[in-house]
Amino acid sequence: MQKDKTADSTSLLSKNVRIEGEIQGPENLHVEGYIKGAIVLSGDIFIGNTGILEADVEAKNIVIQGEVAGNVKAHQQLEIHPTGKLIGDCSAASIDIKEGAVFEGRSNMIKSPEASAGHSPAQTSITAAQNQKQQQPK
């Protein structure tokens, strides 16, 4: 897949529509409907007020205003708004839980977002610097 491509478009699942199954791709997703299954995106996911997920979610940034039951993994940031509800474990590089939000589960911090995101420019520049250092003593 074209996993390293940044997501350029945002898909929308509206209020009265439900998906049962798997969703994946380099895309942003805004959910106001219902999804049961699994979601793996290299873009961002925004779960709106009326959005309900019964799914494991993996995305770059995750914003929860609705309800999520399942395990959640954000390569960058997880944000739970006051109306948001997360029942399940989360792992994220950074978490932001607002007052009034509901979170039941375990939280696990990812140390560096670059390490989980794969080939990032930051990582390649570090390895390039290391190569230079190794060459310098010679």
């Binding site: 074209q2 491509k5 997501a7 350029d8 478009s9 945002t10 898909s11 929308l12 699942l13 509206s14 209020k15 009265n16 529509v17 439900r18 998906i19 049962e20 199954g21 798997e22 969703i23 994946q24 791709g25 380099p26 895309e27 942003n28 997703l29 106001e32 409907g33 219902y34 299954g37 709106g48 007020n49 009326t50 109306t83």
Partner: protein
């Protein structure tokens, strides 16, 4: 405190109203891959891939890069992309120039633009459209119930 609570509720309902008015049409972008079943009320535009089933009360537009494998049921279906499987519409189906269909079409009204490709079978009779829509059969048993008490 009560004032604050009220204000908060108003904000929420306002937000919900704007959300519902904006979000009547779902949009699945070209990079999105869906495996499974999509159902409910509303319109959908799909540019990505679906492996599975659409079952909707509303319009489905299968736009140009979209690839569907499976079954599509809706009120109105218009196709620009490619479909392998069956299309069943309650009202009508339109195949545009770039449409590529392999499979079965069930609809009371059909239009196909020049340039579209269609390999398969079309059914346009009332009988089959009733079969594809279970809600048409739901109305049938109702008169039987009303006649039963009048006999007594």
């Amino acid at each position: 405190m009560p004032l604050f609570g009220k204000k908060k509720k108003e904000n929420q309902s306002e937000r919900r109203q704007t959300a519902s008015s904006q979000n009547e049409t779902s949009y699945f972008g070209k990079n999105l891959m869906i495996k499974g079943r999509v159902s409910g009320n509303g319109n959908i535009i799909i540019l990505g891939a679906l492996n599975g089933e659409f079952d909707l009360r509303g319009r489905v537009k299968i736009a140009q890069p979209a690839k569907i494998k499976g079954e599509v049921k809706a009120d109105v279906i218009s196709v620009n992309g490619s479909v392998q499987g069956s299309l069943a519409a309650k009202e009508r189906i339109h195949l545009d120039q770039t449409a590529r269909i392999e499979g079965q079409i069930i609809t009371p009204r059909l239009s196909i633009s020049e340039g579209a490709s269609f390999d398969g079978e079309i059914t346009m009779s009332d009988r089959s459209s009733k079969l594809s829509r279970p809600d048409a059969a739901d109305s049938a048993p109702a008169p039987q119930n009303t006649t039963a008490p009048t006999k007594k």
